[in-house]
């Protein structure tokens, strides 16, 4: 049969033998919207003239991008989402519950072998747990919401094999930035990316989420991983549905195979204003930074907070530095509290936000001033992304972010090696 993971999942969901290039109509296992896209989902759904959603247990909305609401316009959108949720008896994750890409898998809505649509471009995140998940616009999401289906172009697949053992102080964020710098922002457009290799296998599921999350930054439709014992443990602990693990056939057809070795990798930093403008941290050390953002759907998970806490413990951030920390979900917030990380952050001088997207998308909770520079653990550094086109954004790992917050300039986390 010789199929990739994407071809297999689309075959199973369409009832047809799906091959790259085909267009198929497929059943969707789960779909969702966030507060930047749900207003238009509701509008498109209403325009379709359908009375009720296809399955009230297979859709949710997450209020995360601008939460709590910073202005009247956003409040109206949130109100509209809550109203629609009441009317259709669907779940809404309200302010403070977390980022969609953390709460959706954490709440068990996705499982291995699923086909998932989200009205958010980073929906590819769940590829880490063997889900074919991809971002769409609001109207596409409304189509799925009304009918339980949508049309899909079966993607070609790029196989990425990452071998070697990541050195101390170098993380899955550095790995994916390194890959993106090679593939480039459009190198995998419309493709499904499959990740393999020793370096991927040795990562925790949380660290794998960081990698799949950023697949869209090279244009990919999904960034999917084969299931292993760690995947199954994670899924069995969280998912409310039966997993259907999917592996690619050994002789599946790949458009391209790229191989990397990360044994000697340095921490990586994406420089303004594109995600593929990546340099080893050594080349940007000493760049003055005004604001550090630790959190987001890329790096706001417990082990991200843990590494930041181990660097910040008992220390104070640089004078004039704004350190903003946003746990990705309420569960992570509570766990971080129990483990004492929040005490460490606050004592170090950080402002800790409620769970959600934080300052990532530039609508609230840390908008930059003209001429300011941010170092963020997020996934995008486009001009204007954090609310101000006259500011600059660097991206890197939570460890690099914490080291930077202490130094007041871009700093190498390996300086704190004994704490890592």
């Amino acid at each position: 049969m010789r199929q990739t993971i994407a071809e297999k999942i689309l075959s199973e969901h369409s009832g047809k033998r799906a091959r790259a290039g085909d267009i198929v109509m497929a059943n969707v296992d789960f779909c969702f919207g966030q507060d930047g896209t749900s207003g238009m989902i509701v509008d498109s759904f209403r325009r379709m003239g359908v009375e009720s959603v296809f399955d009230k247990d297979r859709f949710c909305m997450v209020i995360d991008h601008s939460a709590p609401s910073p202005n009247i316009g956003v409040s109206a959108i949130h109100d509209k989402m809550r109203g629609f949720a009441r009317e259709q008896s669907v779940r809404v994750f309200d302010i403070g519950e977390g980022v969609c890409h953390q709460v959706v898998p954490e709440s068990g809505y996705v499982t291995c072998g699923d086909l998932v649509l989200g009205a958010d471009s980073h929906t590819c995140t769940y590829g880490a747990v063997n889900v074919l998940s991809t971002g769409v616009g609001s109207t596409d999401l409304a189509i799925a919401l009304a009918s339980g289906k949508n049309w899909f172009k079966v993607p070609e697949t790029m196989k990425i094999v990452v071998d070697g053992k990541l050195p101390k102080g170098v993380y899955s964020k550095d790995l994916i930035l390194y890959v993106i710098s090679d593939v480039k922002a459009d190198g995998a457009t419309y493709q499904s990316v499959e990740f393999y290799g020793q370096a991927i296998n040795s990562l925790s599921v949380d660290a794998r989420f960081t990698i799949s999350n950023m697949a869209v930054e090279m244009g990919a439709k999904s960034g999917i991983m084969a299931p292993d014992r760690k995947t199954m443990d994670w899924i069995n602990k969280h998912s409310i549905r039966q997993p259907r693990p999917v592996e690619a056939d050994e002789d599946a057809k790949y458009l391209e195979i790229r191989e990397y070795d990360v044994s000697e990798l340095e921490p990586q930093v994406a420089c303004p204003h594109t995600v593929d403008n990546v340099r080893p941290i050594g080349e940007v050390l000493g760049t003055p930074v005004n604001e550090v953002n630790i959190g987001t759907c890329t790096n706001g998970r417990l082990e991200d907070l843990e590494v930041a806490a181990s660097i910040l413990k008992g220390r104070k951030i640089a004078k004039g530095m704004k350190l903003i920390i946003t746990p990705a979900s309420r569960k992570i917030f509570l766990d971080a509290m129990k483990k004492g990380y929040l005490d460490i952050f606050v004592e170090a001088g950080a402002a800790v936000n409620n769970p959600g997207c934080g300052p990532c998308v530039g609508t609230h909770q840390g908008v930059l001033a003209d001429g300011e520079t941010a170092f963020s653990t997020a996934n995008r550094n486009f001009k204007g992304r954090m609310g101000n086109p006259n500011a600059e954004i660097y991206l890197g790992s939570p460890a690099a972010a914490a080291a930077t917050a202490l130094a007041g300039e871009i700093a190498d986390p390996r300086e704190h090696k004994r704490r890592l």
Binding site: G137, I143, K149, K383, G384
Partner: protein, 166 residues
């Protein structure tokens, strides 16, 4: 007469540039939204566009966020089509879903303010200023149907679903 408009940057024009996140929550009126397109790259860019004009760019147009406000704002600005070497996939879907035509072709030989004519059925753009015809990638049949209906919602409504599209 319809003209080409180019921005100062060519490749990887992302949806944050098309319409900033600052506005996606604030403005529900698409005509208002259209006044802010490409604002972070070039002030008052929208004023240059006359109904029927074209936006011309390089590779990977529309990368980044899935915000549908991006193609909606471009359509509301009066553009006949966006012409680029390639498009990011979410933007490409969103565009046809909301009734904005986008076409792929070699764009190196289209300069700012060249006069253009698009014939989507003949897979052709005529560059009248340069006297050359540029071949475009055929627009998939499914996308043409959405455009003819004025968008995917309208298609879905008038056909009671997608079943007859394949």
């Amino acid at each position: 007469m319809a003209y080409a408009h180019r921005l100062k940057i060519n490749d990887d024009i992302n949806t944050d540039y098309i319409i900033s996140g600052r506005y996606k929550f604030k403005i529900q009126d698409e005509k208002e939204l259209a006044k802010h397109i490409f604002e972070d790259l070039e002030q008052d860019f929208h004023k240059k566009i006359k109904p029927g004009d074209f936006l011309v760019a390089g590779e990977n147009f529309g990368c980044g966020s899935s915000r549908e406000q991006a193609p909606v704002a471009l359509r509301a600005s009066g553009l006949r089509a966006v012409v680029a070497k390639s498009f990011a996939r979410i933007f490409y879907r969103n565009a046809f879903n909301v009734g904005l035509c986008v076409v792929e072709c070699e764009t190196n030989y289209i300069d700012d303010m060249d006069e253009l004519e698009l014939d989507i059925d003949k897979n052709l753009i005529k560059n009248l200023s340069k006297g050359v015809n540029i071949e475009i990638e055929p627009v998939p049949r499914i996308m043409k149907k959405f455009l003819e209906s004025g968008g995917v919602v309208e298609y879905f409504k008038s056909h009671g679903g997608f079943d007859d599209i394949f």
